[in-house]
Every structure is written in C-alpha cells, then in structure tokens.
Point group: C2
Amino acid sequence: MALYVMKFGGSSVGDVERMQRVAKRIIEKQDEGHQCVVVVSAMGDTTDDLIDQALMLNPNPSAREMDMLMTTGEQISVAMLSIAIQYQGRESVSFTGWQAGFETEAEHGRARIRNIRPERVLKALGAGQIVVVAGFQGITADGEITTFGRGGSDTTAVALAAAIQADVCEIYTDVDGIYSTDPRIVKCARKLKEISYDEMLELANLGAAVLHPRAVEYAKHNNVKLVVRSSFTYNEGTLVKEEATMEQGAVVSGIAYDKNVARITIRGVNDIPGVLAKMFSELATAKIDVDIIVQSGVMDGKADFSFTVNLEERERALQVIAAIRGELPYEEVTSETDLVKVSIVGAGMVSHPGVAAQMFEAISSQGVSIKMVSTSEIKVSCVIEAGRLNDVVTALHTAYGLDTEEQAFVGGPQDRR
Amino acid sequence: MALYVMKFGGSSVGDVERMQRVAKRIIEKQDEGHQCVVVVSAMGDTTDDLIDQALMLNPNPSAREMDMLMTTGEQISVAMLSIAIQYQGRESVSFTGWQAGFETEAEHGRARIRNIRPERVLKALGAGQIVVVAGFQGITADGEITTFGRGGSDTTAVALAAAIQADVCEIYTDVDGIYSTDPRIVKCARKLKEISYDEMLELANLGAAVLHPRAVEYAKHNNVKLVVRSSFTYNEGTLVKEEATMEQGAVVSGIAYDKNVARITIRGVNDIPGVLAKMFSELATAKIDVDIIVQSGVMDGKADFSFTVNLEERERALQVIAAIRGELPYEEVTSETDLVKVSIVGAGMVSHPGVAAQMFEAISSQGVSIKMVSTSEIKVSCVIEAGRLNDVVTALHTAYGLDTEEQAFVGGPQDRR
C-alpha cells in the first residue's frame, strides 16, 4: 500500500464526463490498494470567467477580494469531484485550502506556503476516505483567504505530498510526460522516462508549461518523487527525481524554446563603472524581467550591450532606457522582435565540454545566425530569428541523438478522450 | 449615526448592472452617516445551476458536499459586491460565513445557528469599512461548512443584526413591502406601514414568500427591527416589529393564500381511542406535513375526517394511509386537488369576535362553499375551490376595509430597473 497525491488540472475536470473519468481513475488507484489524496484546480475556464466578471465591475479590484472570488473555483471542483466519487460507491470528503491546513504568508494573489497542518487530511485517510483538496489556496494566520498565483495547484500537490509524506505525487495533465522537445515540432520527440529536478526546473523556466517552476523547486527541496502523466491515457509518464539515470548516455535531455522574446540593444554607452548596475536596477524597479544580457568589448571608452525582455515589456523597457539617458548617456537604442530563444538542457553537460560548440555547429549548419548566447551549468540558450525555429529544433534534436522511431503522443481534451 | 444590516437577495445582484446599483445604494446609506453591514445571497440562478450540475454527477449527493458546493455561490456574490463598492471609492471587505463568525449545529443543509462571534465584522466596521457578509452559511465547531436551508440569507441578516446590535435590519427584495394581499390579484391592495412579528409569521407561513418564517422568528425572539423594502425603488417599505400600530382600527391586516393544497378524506374509521394519534404519527414518520385537520361527528361508532397536505405529498400520504388499513380499519379514502387555502391574518382578531363569521359570509356571498376551516389566535383559514380564488380574495379585501385608491407597486427585476 502506498500513499498517492494525484493532481488534476482544470481541463481534466472541465465537464461532467471528464469529472466522472477522473473519479474512475482515482477509484482504480484505490482498488490497487493505495491511499489517495487528490488535488484539483478549478473546472475549465471557471477562474478566467470569474476574473472577467470582476473586471467588468472594477478594472482594478483589490487582490484580497480577488482571492475571495477565485478560490470558489477550486471549492466547486472539489465538491463536484467528491460527489462524483461518492456516486461510484466510495467514501470521499472534500476540503478547502484552509480545511486542509494550508497556512500562508499574507500576500494576496501570490502567497507562499508558511506551514501545513494536515491533521484533517490524515484523519480522513485513516478512516478510508478519498480526500479531495482544493488547489491554489490557503489562509493567513488572521484567517484571510489567499491564493498562490499561477501554477498554484501543482504547488499544493507537491507541498501536501511533502507534508503527509506521500510516496509519490502524480501530476495528471494533457500530455503523457516530459518530452525531449515539443512533439508538435519534432514528430519523433522522445518521452523521457526520468529527468532530474534541476533539468525539469530549467525546462519549466524555459517555457515547457507542464509543471510550474515553483512546484519543481518545492519538490526538489523536499525530495518529493514527482510523476508527470496523462489524465487521458494510461501511459507511464515521466519521473522527476533527484538524480535521473542518464538515458543511453544522452548528455542533453531536452530542447526547449521560448517565443516570448524581444531584444533591446544600446550602443555607445560611456564605459564608466556601475553603468550596467544602474541601468538594470532601474529596469528591476520597473518590474521588467531581463533574461539574457550580452556586453560587447569596449572600444574608445564606449561599450555596446544587448538584453532580452518579454515581448509585452519591450515598450516599457524602452521608456525606462529613454528616461535615464541624461544620467547615463548613450548613442543609440534599438529593439528587435521576431526572435526565439532555443535552449538545450542536460545534467550531463557539466562533465562534457564541447556540448555548446556542438549546438552552435548544428545551428549554423542550418544557415541560421546566432544573435545571443547564454549558458548555465546545465543549459545553453541561443537567440535566433523566429522563422527558423522548427529547422533548428529539429537539427538539434537529431544532433544530440534524441530522435526515436515512435510517434509522440500529444494528448489533450479535444483529440483523445 | 445608525448601524444598518442591509440584506439583498439573489435577483437584486443577478448581473453586473444590478450589482452596481446595489453598491450605489449601500454607499448612499453610508453617505447619510450610517455604518453598513451587507448580507447577500448567491447571484441570480447560481445556486440552482450548481445543484443541477451536481445532480448530473450523482442523483443523491451527500449533504456535506452539497454545502461545500452551494456556499461558493454566496462567496462569489460577496467578493463581487465588495469589488463593485471599491470601484466607487469606498473601503469594503467581504467575509464568508465562517469569517463573519457564524457557528452552527452539524446539520448539513439545514443547520441552525448556535453562536455568532462577530469580532471581525465589528473590527472592519470600526475601521470605516463597508462589510459584506455571505448569507446562508456557517461552520460547525469542527470546521465543516454548513448551510441554513431555504431563506437562509434572511436568517443570516437578522441573526447578525442581533449579534452586532444593529439599529435596523433592512430586507431588500423585489416588492416594496408587505401588502394587505397579493397585488397581482387585488390591484388596490394596501401596502402596510407596520406589521407585528406574529402577523408576519402567519403570513410567511401562509405562503407570502417575502420573508422566511425562520428569520421572522429569529427577529421576534431577539427583538430585531425589520424593514422589508424594494431594491428597485426608494419607497418606504414595511416595518416589522413587536406591536404594530393598528391602522385605522383594521382588525385584519392581510389576506394570504396558498395554492399548494390537497385534501385527503377518510370515511368510516373505527372510533377507538388513539386512532387519530396513530394515523398522524405514521404520516409524521414519513415526513409528510399535515396542515388543517377536521374531524366530523361520530355516528354508529364510525368517524370521518379530512386533512390537507402539500400537493406533491398527496401520493405518499395515500400510500401511508393504505399501508396501515389493516391496523386501523376504515371504509374509504379519497383525495381532492384544485383547492386553495385562503387566510385572513390580524393581531386585532383576538379582541374582535365575529371576524371569522364575517369571513364565512364574504365567501358565501360569492356563492363559494367552504370545504374546511382552521383558526388560530390571529388567523382564520378556509379551504375553497381553486377556481374562485380571485373573487374570494377580492371580496374579503373589501369586506375588511383594506382597499385603497392607490395602485400597488409590484416590482421585480424584469419590470422595474
């Protein structure tokens, strides 16, 4: 007998039929002799609908009231799922975040978990019940309802798994695991059997939307065994754990990309000490996330540098740069869109020099020029022109020996039920 | 400065526009220098929609999970209303039932309030905030979410008014007060300035759906000053209080009717002691509400009697009667529908003999025969054929001097916005 935490996203419980299928799936797990704690998100578009309605009343609602409003979405889900489980003859009980013991900081809309007191969850499990817990929510010590922000239900599942010492935390989603790259681009993408927390974290941060980075961090920190799998098939899924077994000696585990990239270039900056620090602290104050930063060599006491921001922050970044021109003189500022960032991720990279060189070669073999490069211990990212994304990803996938003969499953509520 | 509890029903907050109108109404009250605690029901059809969805998953869901589900309706309302109030520049905070301190018995779906700890409500009021409280809900001492059953938001408003010693509890609804009778039948129905708790209780129990009987009882018991008024007009409303001033010496305050009536008649019952007790305890065990009971004289050791039940309980009542025939022999059982119960209500009746006789006279002057009669201290009810309802109500309204020259306002979301 093992103790499972099973997390189902909003699309897995989007309507009555899917809700029933999820209930069945949970009961099958119980029939195998296991204890089940289920975490669910709000059904389908519920949360977005609530937000839309609220914005019609007030374009700038308080975060506190938005938390009151949005947490109802998960409360509806857990009650519905519990009702569906009961229909199939099992005992089930649902809990809100506060009933499940989630205490958070007092930061509405993005609260961090401070403490979990899972007594009621454990008691219900002890009584043989299937426990259904609302994702994404908790309360402060003062009894104020809070939410965790995007991807919050993943965090609920992982944190609860840690608190009740679950054997496994399964994340059910609309793909059947973590792939070596986006199967919509590379048909022969490889589903990974295992991946390390760090690799998963890089992939998550690079836009592989399957798992929220915060949940991965939480899992790594608490050593929670994570499995990402499909709620629409019984395929095996991908295990995320501390040290993944290297598959067939693969140095690179996966290839990710991010289309949400704009580059800003500033030319002829006076190369005085602290100039970069000043520039980027201004951008940080304006809450603009800067990703890759590249500085070219200094010539005649002037330097050029470039950095990337999210597309939707390009305008604001340009405004910030313009506003500080008097203080930090420069000759010219330009910006560029139609870019994409392609990254290779692999824990094996650390011990294999030449991995980056191989990447540059594969990209240039496609006649594509590299505009920016950034490296970390287990990742290399290159910014290239957007139009050539598919060719580059395909070439990289082949170059690192990731191609398989099987066709990847790209599930989803619409195409596989 | 007075402390107001203002209760708005679901139709008053059914969409964005109405929500904004309610927010404006509350702010006007604050502008008059008053403190406001607002109680709201779920928006429009939210609760019914949630119930329908749950029944698609499970025709027999547990009451505990239904409470989890249904309480989200009011939580959405309070957050939305608070957001709407904030848009108009006022500070506002919403509370769920448990946050507002409502502790109840552990009876899901029909919990009674055990205790109210309104500290958070009072603290927010003290900080100058408009407080919006979710109606219809509380929690048990074990932290289980409960609901109060039909009309529960009225009860929330009245109980909270008692707990925080509010000066007035205003019930905003789609009519602008309590009328001497249904203005849809009698155009010149009189809106009452005042009515006593007991009269209101009789009217509520007789089918005047404006206020829930339980809320009226709670108000009477705690001496909460109630005002029933329209959320669509600024008309004055009706004050419900301990001793209403008799208007122009009117003995009868109102005329109510109830179409949900079936009569069951049992003939030739052996007149042995305890036979009635046995019969009605069987009906009570089957949770069938029996209203009027009439026994005719005994002849040859056999008695006839009739009683009324709700229309939808007629079939079950007949089954119960059939099942005990062996034990309690009778000659024949029949049932009758197409009936209506017409009642006159008035606190002044006690000291005015002849009120009932006047009623019988008015009815028979219409050529209508009275099938059953029941009396209490402040009420006389007659069962008549349904088809003559309007004639009888109109005749009674005139007979007791209730006609006015004004035309009654029958508001409602559709016809007056």
